[in-house]
């Protein structure tokens, strides 16, 4: 499977591997870009770089493979993105770990540094965002810190490139840090005993396969702590035992399984973990406290000082905008101003995406470019050169791969998602998303989701297929499943939304209110039920709010380009596949059979004319086709107001389009995909029947 926002294929002939590790929002991806020259996603929204990015860098004539990892707060975290980083550091065979950190947040930086340092890997510490540190008047000695930690420490400003050259040089000077954490009388004996057991555990192996070939040519530059050069050195540190003890009993076996241990050694580790848990109920907390003491000790020796008062702070370049960003940032989470800003942002996005993208550009592309030129030309060409009727139908027929799939994915969806990605990139880089998440959290809690699900849900109003893919960024499997279900159930995509708006406008605004009310209610009911019934726990909501920053247009353009490449390579084939399935089903007469089979349900339970069945079946293949079918029915006078309401509720709740289904299949597996469809079809009919019965009873009453 291709990476989300995958970089162009880079042919790496690297001899050594550099892994970038750091907390979210510290500019890690931008540092990656500065080091490699190949741009990947860089954002303020935690979890964007869910997958792994690679690039190549030349440092003093040496070839390095550079890996960018998902932002990590704690290596022992159970969040899946952080597990990727943990596995990469442990098994990725990195020769050097470069920790990218927030220069103004030294304590948190050290908490992660200590965890990495204990693994015994050569490290470099990059204190990025040095401009923000200066703007806040914070000062400390980088040289003393470097001395204390025993590794090169470099300050950088990734946005301007300041310090990046020094950072490159520092990579060659990487050292294994000199730090030792004393875990106290309860844990220390277990850590020591476990260290014996896992000693010599090969660092590369079962986790992630990263090709690093020949040996080191750096003539000893990298070897301060004994780097083996081929990235296959053993984990010598105490970090691994500490990690095994800190991991929850559900997650520890996963890591243990990846280690190359004999059954006896494995049993020994398990016994030690159980003993520790019997003595201390929360070993991870004890371990974190022990690390925190070390961090506090380092900070006491080299304490960050406030050097400037507010007046002189204003003179520091860039601090004016930083101060402005702070104030605006506060407003964005204010109960009143925050809501107004949120509404303004949503309105602006609607104008840009819904109006410019979905109306103006789609009209021009679909009607003019494809309708007048591309499709007639394709049809003429095939008619001339392709004598076989079956093949001609396959390519340019009613459900033709060229006429239907390409028109749909390129003329209809592409302009919508291009404008969406531009707007998305702007909000992402500005640091607004975490704030949006905070504002939305309460509403989403009611649906069994955390505020982080606001992104997929908004994206779903553009295209559910796309939105389902972005549910990857959610923290737990449970939340991902609920978000996928709710997207498939009740979030109408832009194509469908436009038809629904047009239909309700022709009848009465009450119909629209009725539809939104019933669908919204279903989202809440189903979300809550799913939250109760699905196994697993929801993560408690903790969200870091980075300062607002003015986005750089070049970054947004580059990111949009990468995302569009991803769309064309990963989503367009799904549309083509969906169309092929539709073509086959039509040819074998399946479509007609379903239409006639569904007739009793549609006429009897829902009180709709038989033609509506066709619209619902079509809705599976192209959601807007289904909605458009109903629209035509209404235009022809075939539906009264109640029927409009019922049909709109049913088609909104009804199964997602086939492309969305394929994405659910790909992301969540066939069990979940089948379960979702098996639930939605009868549920949509049931809700439609209830609405039909209720409204008719009310009207009669």
């Amino acid at each position: 499977m291709a990476n989300f926002l995958e970089t162009p294929q880079i042919h790496v002939t690297a001899t050594k591997t550099l892994a970038l590790v750091g907390q979210p929002n510290v500019g890690k991806s931008l540092i990656f870009f500065r080091l490699t020259g190949h741009y990947v996603s860089c954002s303020n929204y935690p979890g964007t770089t869910v997958e792994l990015y690679r690039g190549a860098a030349q440092i003093r004539g040496q070839s390095w493979q550079v890996l960018d990892t998902p932002g990590v707060v704690d290596l022992a975290s159970s969040a899946e993105a952080e597990q990727v980083t943990r596995d990469l550091v442990l098994f990725g065979g990195a020769d050097v770990v470069l920790q990218v950190a927030d220069a103004k947040n030294l304590e948190r930086t050290l908490l992660l540094f200590i965890q990495l340092a204990e693994l015994g890997v050569p490290m470099v510490l990059d204190l990025n965002l040095a401009d923000e540190r200066r703007a806040r008047g914070l000062d400390y000695s980088v040289a003393e810190l470097s001395q204390e930690l025993g590794v090169p420490v470099v300050e950088t400003v990734a946005t301007t490139g300041e310090g990046v050259e020094a950072l490159r040089e520092a990579v060659l000077e990487a050292r294994v840090p000199r730090l030792k954490v004393d875990y106290g009388p309860q844990l220390e004996p277990a850590v020591l005993a476990m260290e014996e057991l896992v000693q010599g555990q090969a660092r590369a192996g079962h986790g992630i396969e990263i090709q690093t070939t020949s040996s080191c040519h750096c003539s000893g530059h990298c070897g301060g702590g004994g780097v083996s050069g081929n990235g296959r050195g053993p984990i010598t540190g105490r970090g691994l035992p500490a990690l095994l003890l800190a991991l929850s009993p559900e997650h520890a076996p996963g890591l243990l399984g990846k280690l190359d241990l004999s059954p006896e050694e494995r049993k020994g580790v398990q016994r030690l973990s159980a003993e520790v848990r019997a003595k201390t109920p929360r070993p991870s907390y004890e371990i974190a406290l022990a690390r925190q003491k070390v961090a506090a000790r380092i900070l006491t020796k080299n304490p960050p000082r406030r050097t400037e008062d507010r007046a002189s702070k204003a003179r520091v370049s860039g601090s004016r905008s930083s101060h402005w960003g702070e104030r605006l940032g506060r407003w964005t989470v204010h109960p009143l101003w925050g809501t107004l800003i949120l509404l303004g942002v949503l309105y602006g996005m609607y104008q840009f995406v819904g109006n410019l993208g979905a109306q103006v550009l789609v009209d021009w592309l679909e009607k003019t470019v494809f309708g007048l030129y591309v499709n007639p030309a394709l049809i003429a060409l095939t008619e001339r050169y392709l004598p076989i009727l079956f093949l001609r139908d396959l390519l340019v027929g009613e459900y033709g791969v060229l006429t239907m799939a390409l028109t749909y994915s390129l003329a209809l969806i592409l302009p919508i998602i291009t404008t969406f990605f531009l707007a998305f990139g702007f909000l992402e880089d500005s640091g607004y998303f975490p704030r949006l998440t905070v504002m939305a959290h309460r509403v989403f809690r009611g649906m069994g989701l955390s505020g982080q699900a606001v992104l997929p849900m908004i994206l779903g109003l553009g295209c559910d297929t796309m939105a389902t893919m972005t549910t990857r960024a959610l923290e737990t499997r449970k939340e991902r499943t609920i978000a996928t279900l709710l997207l498939a159930l009740g979030v109408p995509c832009s194509a469908q939304l436009a038809v629904l708006l047009a239909m309700s406008a022709a009848v009465s605004p009450w119909v629209l209110i009725g539809v939104l009310g019933s669908v919204g209610l279903q989202l809440i009911i189903v979300g809550r039920l799913a939250a109760h019934l699905l196994p697993g726990e929801a993560a408690a909501f903790v969200m870091e709010l980075p300062p607002l920053r003015w986005p750089q247009w070049r970054n947004i353009a580059a990111k949009t380009r990468l995302r569009l490449v991803w769309y064309v390579t990963e989503v367009v084939p799904l549309f083509v596949l969906g169309t092929l399935v539709l073509f086959v089903l039509d040819k074998i007469g399946f479509l007609m059979a379903v239409k006639s089979g569904a007739r009793p349900v549609v006429e009897g339970l829902l009180g709709l004319p038989a033609e509506a069945a066709t619209a619902f079946v079509m809705g599976f293949f192209r959601r807007d086709y289904g909605a458009a079918g109903l629209y035509q029915l209404q235009q022809a006078g075939g539906l009264d107001a109640v029927q409009v309401l019922v049909s709109m509720v049913v088609i909104t709740l009804f199964v997602p389009c086939i492309a969305n289904f394929l994405v659910i299949l790909k992301e969540r597996g066939w069990r979940t995909a089948t379960a979702i469809v098996a639930f939605i079809v009868p549920y949509a009919v049931l809700v439609g029947a209830v609405v039909n019965a209720l409204v008719r009873a009310l009207l009669r009453g």
Binding site: V73, D74, A76, S77, S78, D102, K104, N105, L106, E107, R108, L111, L112, R136, L138, Q186, A246, S248, K279, P281, R282, S284, Y285, E286, A288, L289, Q292, A296, G329, R330, V333, H334, P335, G338, P434, T437, V438, M439, H441, R442, E537, A539, A540, F541, V542, M543, E544, L545
Partner: protein, 148 residues
């Protein structure tokens, strides 16, 4: 839980500074799991022991002069208040781990930036939005030297 004697907040994880200052803490590790010593008044109580007499709830204004010395939970603090973290009340290990990773450890200094619609606090140079269930489980000592 609260101390049955003085109604001060108790840290049930046994990791609060108050508990560690208790001479029994190091002598009888097991005992501390069963007996909780109030860091405020020194009274030993059993977990779940009922408060004697009518329970005195903390004042609505947590920074009121009379209450300054009494630890409280973070959700009792007003906007602008500063406090020192002393411990955690019942939290899952996973939640605890996440909070600690953000630097929320006993001894950390916090400032309340906002309470509605989300609880936002500042720790060092980081602004964190937290769910109310977490905020209620964070025990703090209001900083008497800071006026709102």
């Amino acid at each position: 839980m609260r101390c049955p004697m003085c109604h001060g907040l108790l840290d049930c994880t046994g990791n609060a500074q108050g508990c560690q200052s208790c001479p029994l803490y190091h002598l009888t590790r097991g005992c501390c799991q069963q007996l909780i010593r109030c860091p405020n008044c020194g009274y030993h109580s059993l977990p779940g022991e009922k408060t004697a007499g009518p329970q005195v709830l903390p004042a609505v204004e947590p920074l009121h002069a009379d209450n300054r010395a009494v630890p409280c939970t973070l959700n009792e603090l007003a906007v602008g208040a500063q406090a020192c973290l002393v411990g955690f009340d019942s939290l899952t290990e996973r939640d605890l781990q996440r909070l600690v990773a953000y630097g929320l450890v006993p001894g950390a200094r916090l400032k309340v930036l906002q309470r509605v619609p989300a609880y936002i606090l500042k720790i060092h140079e980081t602004e964190l939005a937290l769910e109310h269930s977490l905020v209620k489980a964070i025990c703090v000592h209001p900083d008497p030297s800071v006026d709102r």
